[in-house]
């Protein structure tokens, strides 16, 4: 298991500049394989190759129809299979690393992101703006609005940062405790790099120089009725601001348009929610009336806009305990997100296109 310890995960050297971005998105997986696995070490680095061959077949269920890609040639196919097998070998022998939070970078990059990407690209056709506002390195706190009954917006934001940021940054989302109580969901959330939304975890991640994503509206935002769409709810107690202040991390407001309409929540079965232990139980025009079919989200067109960073490093250390400053900063972040939301809504042609 020695060779996996030297996986150059976050290195910038093998990674291209911003000009190479579109191919990287699909090639990240196999390029990593190319640099780390002994089976494919002798091959050329992938940036020089055409992008189409780079799709790594990671698991059986998403194995691409390889015969259809005749432009890759037999060499590319072999390399891809070798990369896939090296990946499989590492996974099956437990020869990979996770961080203290359980974030499995390899699995996220090669499997989970490629599962989310079709939803992101084809279903919601997410348009990303202002990704340059996310700093290239160091801790930063992305604060976004929350909506859509099911936290799809967080996942899409994670794909947006992963696929569009030129410095290959990974978004570490802060999730509600409910996420970590549900079986399977908690396992996937940890492997995707999410952790519990508490000051300790957020500070630890920011201190490590990670990019942290938080949705301070919480259940109030995600479970609000359809009639209140795009109206920001209260931003908790503003704990995210004091966390950012303590670490001197910039706050990047993020506005997500499109997530509100995926499940138009027209009712809330409160009794059922209480019985199941959920904060709300959504009733939409299709759910639960059409059964599982009603759980398919509406294919809305999304826009994710990252705003100008709000710097927090100019404040003295005791500022984190100043409630007035907390409220002001919280309001500033909230208003900036709300304004951007309105602007994006005006620009939007239709909900679905």
């Amino acid at each position: 298991m020695a060779d996996a310890k030297v996986i150059p995960f976050d290195d910038d050297r093998s990674r291209g500049s911003a000009a190479q971005r579109p191919p990287r998105r699909r090639s990240a997986g196999s390029r990593r394989n190319g640099t780390e696995s002994p089976l494919v070490r002798e091959v050329q680095p992938l940036p020089s190759r055409p992008p189409a061959q780079d799709d790594v077949p990671v698991t059986g269920e998403e194995e691409p129809p390889e015969e259809a890609r005749d432009d890759s040639g037999p060499g590319g196919l072999e390399r891809r299979v070798a990369g896939g097998l090296a990946f499989l070998r590492r996974r099956l022998t437990g020869d990979y690393e996770v961080d203290d939070f359980g974030y499995d970078e390899e699995l996220t990059d090669q499997v989970l992101m490629s599962l989310l990407r079709p939803v992101y690209e084809k279903y919601f056709r997410v348009e990303v703006k202002g990704v340059e506002n996310i700093p290239a390195k160091g801790g930063a706190l992305i604060v976004a609005n929350h909506s859509g009954t099911i936290p799809m917006d967080g996942l899409m934001m994670q794909v947006a940062v992963h696929d569009h940021h030129p410095d290959d940054r990974h978004l570490r989302l802060l999730a509600a405790d409910l996420v970590f109580m549900l079986p399977v969901v908690n396992e996937l959330a940890r492997k995707l790099g999410h952790t519990l939304a508490c000051a300790e975890d957020a500070e630890r991640l920011l201190a490590k120089g990670e990019l942290v994503g938080v949705m301070p509206e919480g259940f109030k935002g995600i479970g609000k009725p359809f009639s209140e769409r795009y109206k920001l709810q209260r931003f908790g107690r503003g704990g995210f601001v004091s966390t950012a202040l303590r670490q001197g991390a910039p706050i990047i407001p993020c506005s997500i348009v499109g997530a509100e309409e995926i499940y138009p929540m027209i009712g809330n079965a409160k009794t059922l929610a209480r019985v199941l232990g959920f904060p709300y139980f959504p009733l939409t025009p299709t759910f639960p009336w059409l059964g599982p079919l009603g759980a398919i989200p509406l294919p809305t067109k999304w826009t994710i806009q990252f705003g100008e960073p709000i710097r927090t490093d100019g404040y003295p250390p005791e500022a984190a305990d100043d409630p007035m400053l907390m409220f002001n900063l919280t309001d500033q972040v909230r208003e900036q997100i709300q304004h951007t939301l309105y602007k994006l809504l005006v620009q939007r042609r239709s909900v679905f296109f």
Binding site: G60, L85, E97, V184
Partner: protein, 384 residues
């Protein structure tokens, strides 16, 4: 038995717990010359190893090893005194030997041999109370080291991902060893308040593994197939027994320059392993079960007395637990030799291959890779 021979040749008469005033002479002299270390829980492998190791330190003059039952392993040149910690005899032992350093290792999750949970709990809690009472009366005690466990933090979904020494558990352990450690630490804190002149060091060890470790987790990993909780992949942290001995040594001596060895410290190897990773590295298949089934099966085997698969053990294997070791590095000045992964590798080597040895799995994948494949089909196994 080894201990009998050794004690007989060293100080034969003094060891009978009778309390002659003349016997104090040896203790006094030792105090001037060097340290007298009293160690509890020496009948266990860990205690035995520590006793053998601490005698080699030049500043240690004498080691007194205490346990309720005679150890099966030898204790080097240490003096063994058979005393049940739950009885007040420990106070006389402490007074007669004039120990200045007390290392309390008799805080354990499982009984040695055929003890019941009740007796383990009594030894942990009542034993600690008796020992602390004895320490409080003793004018010679200058340093107390207590072995605790990261169990004190519990494991719950509402907990932060990484515990620091100051994190308070969201849900206090309701019973079992975890509750014992919480209570033991409570008494130790009380003692530290009443005797501020005594340097008190509480070491919260993560799961101790190693070739000879006898912990519940070690016996869990020795099962041919590992029952796991469906839909949960806990993060685990291990500490190697060699590192345990070393950190206990650091804690029982005067602190080195620039470090402080009184207080509470988390002790764990670097890094984290997921349970699924452990199973794969160990080469043992996992049997995912629904959480209620695991709880039920756990209570069943407990009732049958087959193994102590306790509720806190199940919680650990559901939600996992990771602690921060910044204090250990920066304040205590201890760098573990083994990371979590290395500790586990050393443990896996000592246990022999499981049903699915990683080498065989890797070999199988390599053979597939070596096949002259037609159509480029990959094995359709799930990677996770």
């Amino acid at each position: 038995m080894h201990w009998a021979v050794i004690t007989a040749q060293q100080r034969p008469a003094r060891l009978a717990v009778h309390g002659d005033s003349a016997e104090y002479e040896g203790g006094r002299k030792a105090l001037i010359l060097g340290k007298v270390v009293l160690v509890t829980g020496v009948a266990r492998q860990l205690g035995g190893r520590y006793v053998r190791r601490i005698q080699r330190d030049p500043q240690v003059d004498r080691v007194i090893a205490v346990d309720a039952i005679p150890p099966e392993h030898h204790l080097g040149g240490a003096d063994f005194i058979q005393a049940d910690l739950r009885q007040p005899t420990i106070a006389r032992v402490l007074a007669e030997t004039a120990a200045d350093t007390v290392v309390h290792l008799d805080v354990t999750a499982t009984a040695l041999g055929s003890g019941s949970r009740t007796s383990v709990k009594e030894t942990n809690v009542i034993g600690t109370m008796q020992l602390l009472g004895a320490c409080q009366k003793s004018p010679t005690v200058k340093r107390l080291v207590v072995k605790s466990s990261t169990n004190v933090y519990g494991s719950a979904p509402r907990d932060p991902a990484v515990f620091t020494e100051t994190t308070s558990a969201k849900s206090l352990p309701s019973g079992g060893f975890a509750k014992d450690t919480v209570e033991v630490e409570g008494y130790v804190r009380g003692f530290a308040r009443r005797r501020p002149d005594v340097a008190v060091c509480v070491l919260r060890f993560a799961n101790i593994l190693g070739p000879t470790a006898e912990t519940p987790l070690a016996s869990y990993f020795s099962l041919p197939a590992l029952p796991t909780v469906l839909g949960y992949d806990p993060r685990l942290q291990f500490v190697h027994e060699d590192d345990v001995i070393e950190v206990l040594r650091i804690a029982s001596h005067e602190p080195a320059r620039g470090t402080l060895n009184s207080g509470t410290f988390n002790i764990a190897g670097d890094g984290v392993l997921l349970l699924s990773q452990c199973a794969r590295r160990l080469g043992r298949p996992t049997v995912p079960l629904l959480l209620p089934a695991v709880t039920w099966a756990g209570s069943l085997v407990r009732t049958l007395g087959m193994t102590d698969f306790s509720p806190e053990q199940i919680r650990l294997l559901t939600h996992g637990r990771v602690v921060a070791t910044t204090q250990m590095r920066e304040t205590l000045g201890f760098q573990p030799k083994y990371t979590t992964a290395e500790t586990f590798a050393d443990f896996a080597r000592s246990r022999g291959p499981g049903l699915l040895p990683p080498e065989a799995v890797a070999g199988a994948v390599d053979r597939i890779a070596a096949l002259p494949f037609a159509g480029g089909h990959l094995p359709t196994q799930s990677a996770n």
